[in-house]
Every structure is written in structure tokens, then in C-alpha cells.
Symmetry: D2
Subunit: 346 residues, 4 copies
């Protein structure tokens, strides 16, 4: 039994972490923190949890938390983790950071895309990018895991085998991704007012979204040399789910069979990745509430392109359940422990 | 470890039963049946369950199933259970019927409201109405449990203490209930076409809905003499959830305190019933995906009325999770086993 | 051709007024004001209106506006109209106030329910309650029209004939009303965040909603003596529409025929009221985007109750289009001019 | 005043045509036909139109209709128009076909993508493709107009200037389009069941959607030589609206300015096309219920790509209102007559 703390518990990722960890056979939730709701009961902030999780939320003090917890999940806005995670903290506890601060290896990229200084440079080298299926071995021994973004998990996993096996032209990648509104968090803005978001669709952050360098970093690693991609996120009038539709030109003479074999080779034994047939494409309700990532690589010989379609639940495989997956790997538990819920479908 | 069969597995209640029973530590799902999908893989019917539940659905043959299963869940249209559940079946297995056939004690009421003959009259006396909190003792030893309807669970539980303790005028009850679309099932009809159900609300089955006699039966038992109620269901553009808003005239001089005490007295120790304060009223997202029933009794002294507001998830406490709750009671397991998931909130 | 000003143009009612008046053959929109957006172009606030309505919004100065406009529509929060509408303003122009300040005849009721002092007491006697079908004659000559609230229009019109003709017990009225989210306006609150309002339903303002005294006032007038009602509003995950379901005990021996005749007698010739059959009940998409109010009075002899169901579009007959209907009456135009759009259905 | 008939009046496009033509100052709706609802009153099929359009729908007999109508709108499944529109019909009346039969100039393409024989080959040469802004001159004198598809209008208009002016590599075009559910029509299918379409997103018809050759035809004309595109449609949980996001590689050294000038040059004076700034991107609620098409061409110098984003209402500019726009052009009316409604926004 390990003690876990959730810092930033009162966001949509936080409540999801609580729901998962409460049923994890080896975890005891030991502390909940939330600076904006410090001193309030969790069930005051999320009345759904009345009589389930009534504890008072504390302020987030990592150093203190590190002394009594085996692992701390950080669900905080970017810029905070890089300031508060220290060597000392890491000498006491393990950190799974669901924010952006330790994802990008290149500090100048971080500072350019996030328009802020990075204060945790010295820790970056030991941060492991927590895309569980790709970095499983490194996660095992990590003290600091940078859990990937929701769009990035969907986009990287959709394309990884095709890039890794050199089957597509790496300069041709275009990712058109669609997300439910929970991806924007619980903060108030006109754009997530029900009457503004409902019954409408929009692209946003076109050419400037912060998940772009993260996708590029990982696909570049897979490729062996730098890749630039076009990444266009969209807001969809639904609560959860991301569909990532990725386009790329096939390298000359690459066949449908080669593509399919690459995906089977990389993902065929993964417990949480399902390769779907092209007559049964991924849709977000197929993975809703679960840790599954579904993908179909489609080869269009008419235009010689790969269209790889991936789906996940942004709050689960795109955030909370992948964080628990990483925790399981870090602590030597069965990887699916506590995150093997079936998709809800509805 | 007991063997369980789910008959009628390919509806929205069926998939929910599968999701729950798959994680129940004492249950092994032994058979899935669905006459309309017999011979098809379950994950063909619900592609969300690819690689999770790929078994072939059989035709529903209760006699055969009864020989190899400790319990059979029936999620079938009304009229089938009354024809196929027999003494012999019940001598082999326990039945939890999520349909309407064994709910009404008065056969002529059944035949009048359901416009069909009842073929299982001889079994009715032993059928226990599976409103777990009210009939817990009887459920313990039941071989045949009639799991209540979704609207009825919400409506009866909302009003039961007030009726039982004689605090309201039993002739004055009006129930205005609102349900998500999943309550209408997975069958196709113009009314549940996305473009027809979305962005609209309607009342339906006004004065004629079949859950009316079921509500009346149970409130009459609580009252000690017959009660007639006005029951008006509505279709709401959401997937899950029922909100039942119940109105009744307070008996002379009944106070807020007396009402509140009645609810606390009956529900205060119930693990799945939460009495909410009047400044924190039930809403369906507070119970989504969970077995909780939330209720607030409001006393309006200006009009001398009780307004009791109850909320549940129609697929969970209104169907599948209450069925599992009954199973737990019947088999002597901890009542919350496998159904203690936190509400999803979103 | 008359000049019209819209004060408070940048709310959901404001944009609806603009859309209607732009196509009214006798109206020229002469000024748009909005204190919170003063100095901004309208199409900056509502980008849908780029190149359609790019004018700059002014601050709201009624006196100045009154000198150059034949009519001013006020779509303002309560408490402002009562302070700024003066005899002088009314000597220059006509006012159609879509807010609450001049609806209640009893000032102490206003001050009690709205928790604020009323500063326009002297003007109250001349304010005409703008429920067009009931007060048509008085609206013709009014200088100050108090346009009714959305819930109130739906609720009063649903019950008026039954009360007026003395067919129901006036002490037994219960109104259970359901509204789309636009009724809550464009301001930000957690409750109208997409992820909080979507896929959920809740009652709110139970026993305390401010439309209660307005409903009571008008039904009391119809009744000839004071009536108190129970009024329970709900938030529904849709943008537009109100469904008002009204319950009352029938007076002894009142027949279905008498009820139906009362409704036909009062509404049979109304261009914007449709009495629907009980096998074709009102639903909000039937009136979406139109000035129609649909109603069905249902007699339930089993419980001796009337269930009157009414539907309207809260932004149209519940606000903007009824305001234009009143304007048409005030200026002697054909009553349906500019507001005879067909329902959108979807 | 001209007489118009609507064939196939009982679909979502049909009701929209009725709503528009009822308010057109020069049109009298003379006949409604619908084979599947022949003999039924229109308001029986769409109860929203009770007392507004109660006429009985006839069977569709074009020859008979052609004798008494100046124009016939065909809102029929593909394959019917090509069989029933004849030279004789066209000698009596004008036809605006909202279906696919006369859109593709290349019969073998039609037969390949639609898997059916084309029976109206002889009329194809005179059919004018009714993309109003591109073919205005030809529409003026056309007897047979093939009104474009919804996806195609959005996709072609988004890319046309860039292709026409030779600013992009025509082999690089990828169109990722998203549509509301009404695009799938009113017929019943599991995919448009509320509980299946709501809270989910999916791609469909990937590499095989029938709008592909239509898009390719028109962009090929603009290009002067054949173009093949990748076109991926998606189903979005909303009723109306299409967002078309189009990607293409810029030709070497093409600047942002050149792109913008091309769009201004072609669309700057169009009454129904709005070029939006890149900080105010198109979203479907900005055009909801209107004939507007909004577009923003974005130049991403980091990847040397054009991202052109276009939005329209699939039932309006994507179907009914563009059909009326064409009618206006054909009959010499002001082009905006009857279709200048403001966007609804919500």
C-alpha cells in the first residue's frame, strides 16, 4: 500500500484521478491539494462526491507532501511544477506531472511556445516522458515522469509506427485533432459557456497550439531526425474524447500490408492499444471512460496517403489513467491495475 | 465465485451489466444471450468492447441457462420473462428480472397497463420487488427478484419516507420526472433520432405511462391504503439520468423538521442514498455512472407543500447497478461489492 | 418607418431583437447600447454579425436615446429601468422593457422578491403588462410596456383559460417548468460551463424563483382573487426553449369538453397560439425560433386533474418576438409583422 | 409571383426550403410532394408546422408538376432525378436539383462513386453546377441547376482562390470536414440514434465519400488540370453546420499577402462570403441559419502550408438557401431576396 497525494485535485483531471485511485488496490489517497480551493471540502467543489470524498483540500506545498507520500500527482497549470519540484522533493517521493513543464527536452522550445521562463532546467535530464507504451522501460526507474498531453498521446500513438518504420514522408505530416470541452478545463471563459460551445464547432490555436512541439519532439525521436508537423486542434460540443486524424504521404511503393504490419508489430501486444479494422473505425465513445487508445491506419492508394485515425478519452489515457498506468509501472504493479474499466459507450 | 448469465445483453442495460459484472470479484460472466443478435459477437454489436468482450451472443433459452448459472439477469422486453421463467428454472438458478413482468402484484393492473396477458401468474407470489433499500430482507432469500423500473426507483425513493410516516396527503401526489434518452433503449424510432431529440424537450406518456401503477403499488404499501398519483415523464436531450420532482400537500402542521427526520430515519444509514441539503440540490451529473440515489425533501411553507427531488442514473441505480446490489444481497456478498464506483460527474 | 433603439443589445435577447428588427419592414435600428461593451463594435461581441451589424455600441443613456427614437427596447438587468425610465423619457418615446422592473403591480412584492428598492414607483400605474394576447387593448395605447418573463409567458398562457373560466381549484396549482440554458444569459458562471450544464438536469430556485409573483399576479387577476402557486424551474441541456407543465385539480364535475372549450374560446383565433391535440403534445423544437406558443390541456379523469402543457422559445415569444409583437400593437402595424418566421424544427 | 413546387418536401432540406420560400416575396409554394409521405399532411410529418403548412403531400410526378410550376426544387435521393427529369419537363419549368444526379460532368465517375447507372445522360450538358458565386453567369440562363452538396460547397469555396490563382501545390490538398447530424437526413439508423451520435465523434466514408469527385471536379476546373484530393468527413454531435479545414502546400515563395489578395479578389464583393481574420476564425454558430459562407485562409510559414478554414450551415448555404439563391439568379430577382436572415448564433 502506497500513499499518494493529488496536487490540483479540483480540476477535471483531479477528480478523475481521485475516482481511479480510490479503487486502486495498492493506493491510499493521503492528501488532496488545490490552491484555489484550499480550505474547502472536496465535495463542496464537486458535490458529486458528497460522502465519498469530503476531505478538506490543502494548499499545495510539495516539500511537505513529499515527506509523507510515495507518489505525488501534479495536475497544475504549467509553470508551477518547474518552480516547485526540486531535487529534495524527488529524493523523498516520486512525481507524476500531468502538466507541461517537464515534457519538452529543449528548454528554448518550452520557453518559446509557453512564453515563460523554465525554472527547473536541472531536473529536465532525469524527467521521463510518460508515454507508457513507448517509454515503459525508462518509466520503471523514473523519479520524475512527465505525463504526456491529451492531444499528443493521441497524435503520437497514431503515427508512431509509420514514422518509426520509415513508411511515410516525415515532412508531410498533418494532424487534424478534435477534442471535447473538458480538455479546456473547469475555468470559466466565454468559449466554454454552454450556449457558445454547444451546437458549434471551431478550430483554435491554429499553427500555435502548445502541444505541437511535444508531438514534434517524439515523432522526431522516432524518425531519427527533426520533424515539423501541422497540428490543428478543434473544440467539439461533447464533454470527453479526442479524435486525432493524421495525414501523411506514403513513401514510394509502401503497401497497405507494410503499414498494417508496422502497427501490429508495435502495438499488437499492448494491453491498452486496439488496432481497429478500417470498416470499424475509432470513435470516441468506444473508449469513453477507459484507458484504451484505438487506432486504424488507412492506406489510400488513390492519393498515396496514410490516414491514421486515433481515439482516446482525454481525461483518461489522455491524462489521469495514463498517469496511473505510469504509477503502476514505476511501482512494479500490474500495468492495468485500477485502470481496466470497460469503456462506458454511453 | 458464481456463474452469471445476462439475457438480453445487447441493450444499454445489458452492456452496463457486463461492465459491472466484469469487475465483480465474485462473479464470472458465463453466458451472454440476445435473440436479436444471436450468433453475433458482442463486440460486433458494441464495438467499444473489442478485445474486451468478444464472445458470441446465444439465443435466450432460460431452461438451458438455468442449469449452468447461479444467477440470470433478464434485460428483456416485457412479456417474455412471464412466459419463460418457470418453477423448474427457479429450482436451478436465481433470477433477477430487470423487466416489468413480475413487478406488479395485481395481475389485472399488469394486463390493463401493459395490454397483454400475463403467463407467469403462479410465480408472482414469490417474486420480490427489488427496491433494495425497502425490501432488503425479502431479497435475501428471494429466488426471483423483480428489479424496479428507473422512473419508479427515483419516484418511490423520493417520496417513501413522507408517505410512510404519514406526513403528506396521499391523494395529492404529483410526480414530474425527466429522463435521458437511454431510458428509451437502443431501438430506432424517430423520437430518438439525434436531430429530433437534441435541443428539445417533451412530455410523453402523460397519464398513461406504465411506471405509474408500479409507483402507486409501492406508495400504497407504504401508506397502508391505495394511492393514485399523477406521473408525467419527460425526454431530456442527454444520455443518462433521471430527475424526479415530486409534489405533495403537507398534512396540517407538519414541519420542516419532521420531514427531514423522516428522511434521515429511513435513509440516514443507507450506503447508496444521500440526503442533500436544500442549497445543494440533486442533479443528475452528481450520480452519473454510480449506484447513488440523491434526494432532497424541500418544505415550502408558503404553499404548504413538500417538493421532494430525487436523482439517479437510469442505467445504474435505475437498472443495472441496483440489479447487482440485489444480487449481492441474495448471495450474501457485501452490498456495495462491484458497484461502489464514484460518480463520473462528467 | 420608425426609429428603434436597443438598450442592452449584447445579450442573447439583444441579438435576437436585432435579428428580428433588421427584417421588420417599418423599423430602422437607430442605436445599439450596452454598458459592458460600450465602444465596441457589435460584431466584435457577436462575431456572427460581421458585415451585418458592425456598429459601435454606445453607453445606455435613455434620455438622449428618447429624443431620436420612437421606441426603445430595454434588455437590461433588473433595477436599471426603474431608475432611468422617467416621465420625460416617456414623453419623448415609447418603452418596451424586457426586464422585470415594471411587471409587478405590487411594489412590496417586487422589493421582497428582487431584494432591491424600486425607484420608478410613480410610473408603475401606467405600465402595461405586455402579455400580448391578454392585454392587447391596453398595449395599443401604452407608452410603457412591461414585457413578461419567459417562464411566466409559458406558465400563464398554459393556465389562463382554466383559471379564468373557473374550472380548476386555484389553490392547487403546481408549475414544473424546464428551460434551455440561454435563459440564464451570456454571463459566465460554473453552472453554465458546458461540461457542467451538458448531460445533466437540475431544478433551481425552488420556492424562490422571481417569476413566481409574476405568475401569481396574472393568474390572480384571471381568478378574481389571490392565487399562490408552486413554481419549480429546471435547467435543461439545450440552448433554447421552455416547456411549462402545469398541474391543477379540476373543480367537481368539470369535463374534458369544458376544458377544451375554454381554451378554444380564448385562444382559437389567436395567430400565435396553437392548441395541440393530446396525441401531438407541445415540444420545444416545434416552436424553436418562432413567436408561437403551443399548448395542450389534458384532463386526467383518473386523478381529476388538469395537466396543461405549454411550450415556447424563451428568446422569442418568451422575450424578443413578443416585444416586437407588442411594438406592432403599439404602433398599429399588423401584429405578426416581422415575427411570422416558421419554427426552425432543427 | 412565380409558382414553386418542392419535391421531397418531408426531409430536413425540404422543411428548410418551405421556411425560406414562405417568406420569399415573389414565390408561391404551389405543391409539396413526398413519395414516402404521399397523402399525409405536411404538419403531420413535421408537427412544428401545424396551422402553418397543413397541405397534403402528393406523390412526386414531375411531368404533372412541370405544367403548373415555374420552378421545381428536387430534394430527392440520388438516382431519381436522373430518371424523371426529361426534356419535356424542362421545356415547361426550371429545375433546381438539390441531389447529386446532375453534378458530375463525367458519367463514369458518377456511376463509379454512386454505384448506379445514370439515366439522364442527355441532359447533363445543359446542367449548370449551382455554386452561385462561381457559376453565377451560367445559372442566369440555366433550365437545370445542379445544386452542390454541403461538404462540397464548403470545401470548394475554401480552396478555390488558392487553386485558381495557382498559389498551392494541387497534388497536396487534404480536406478534413466536420458535419452536424442533419447532413445524414431524417432516415433512421443506429448511427444517428441520439445515444450513439451524442457525446462522440467519428470519421466516416474515409477515402470513399461521394462528395470527393464533386470537389475534385470543381477544383480541377479551377486548376486547369485534374486534381485529386484526400477528403475525410466527420460526424459531430450537433444538428447543423459544416466546418471544412483544408490543407495544402504553398508553392514556393508564396506569401501571406498573395494568399489574402487572392481571397479578397474573388470574394471581396460577394454578399454571402465573409473573409474572417485569423484571430476571428470561422465557427459554425457564426453562420447558423443563414446563407453565409465564412472563410479564413491561414498561412503557416513554419510548415509552408495553407490552412483554409470554411464554415457554413449545411441545410442553408449547403442546401436550401443556396438553392433559393440560384432561383433568384435564374429569375432575375435580387440575389439575397428571402435568404438574408441574420445568423442565429444560438
Amino acid at each position: 500500500m502506497i500513499n499518494a497525494a493529488i496536487a490540483g485535485a479540483t480540476g477535471y483531471t483531479g477528480i478523475q484521478l481521485i475516482n481511479l485511485l480510490k479503487h486502486h488496490p495498492h493506493v491510499r489517497i493521503n492528501a488532496l491539494t488545490a490552491n484555489s480551493n484550499a480550505g474547502e471540502g472536496f465535495s463542496k467543489v464537486f458535490p458529486s462526491h458528497l460522502k465519498i470524498e469530503d476531505r478538506i483540500c490543502d494548499a499545495t506545498e510539495l516539500e511537505r507532501l513529499s515527506k509523507t507520500n510515495d507518489v505525488i500527482f501534479l495536475a497544475l497549470p504549467h509553470g508551477i511544477a518547474s518552480k516547485t519540484v526540486t531535487e529534495e522533493v524527488l529524493s523523498n517521493t516520486k512525481i507524476i506531472d500531468l502538466g507541461a513543464d517537464f515534457r519538452l527536452k529543449n528548454i528554448s522550445e518550452y520557453e518559446e511556445w509557453y512564453k515563460t521562463e523554465h525554472f527547473g532546467k536541472s531536473l529536465l535530464p532525469q524527467a521521463v516522458y510518460g508515454l507508457s507504451e513507448i517509454y515503459r522501460e525508462q518509466v520503471k526507474t523514473a523519479r520524475l515522469v512527465a505525463n504526456p498531453g491529451c492531444y499528443t498521446t493521441a497524435s503520437i500513438l497514431s503515427l508512431y509506427p509509420a514514422v518509426k518504420y520509415g513508411l511515410i514522408d516525415p515532412t508531410s505530416i498533418i494532424i487534424d485533432a478534435k477534442s471535447g470541452v473538458s480538455g479546456a478545463g473547469r475555468g470559466l471563459s466565454l468559449g466554454n459557456h454552454f450556449c457558445e460551445a454547444n451546437e458549434s464547432i471551431k478550430a483554435y490555436g491554429v499553427t500555435t497550439h502548445r502541444h505541437t512541439p511535444e508531438i514534434e519532439q517524439e515523432l522526431s525521436f522516432a524518425n531519427g531526425s527533426p520533424i515539423h508537423v501541422t497540428f490543428t486542434p478543434h473544440l467539439i460540443p461533447m464533454q470527453r474524447g479526442i479524435l486525432s486524424v493524421c495525414y501523411a504521404s506514403l513513401k514510394k511503393s509502401v503497401s497497405k500490408k507494410e503499414i498494417e504490419e508496422a502497427y501490429v508489430d508495435m502495438y499488437g501486444k499492448e494491453p491498452f492499444i486496439r488496432i481497429r479494422r478500417s470498416d470499424d473505425l475509432p470513435q470516441t465513445n468506444y473508449v469513453k471512460g477507459s484507458n484504451y487508445f484505438d487506432v486504424t491506419p488507412i492506406v489510400d492508394k488513390r492519393t498515396d496517403r496514410l490516414i491514421a485515425i486515433g481515439a482516446l478519452d482525454n481525461l483518461m489515457k489522455g491524462a489521469a489513467s495514463q498517469a496511473v498506468q505510469n504509477m503502476n509501472i514505476m511501482f512494479g504493479y500490474k500495468e492495468s491495475m485500477g485502470i481496466d474499466d470497460c469503456p462506458l459507450y454511453l
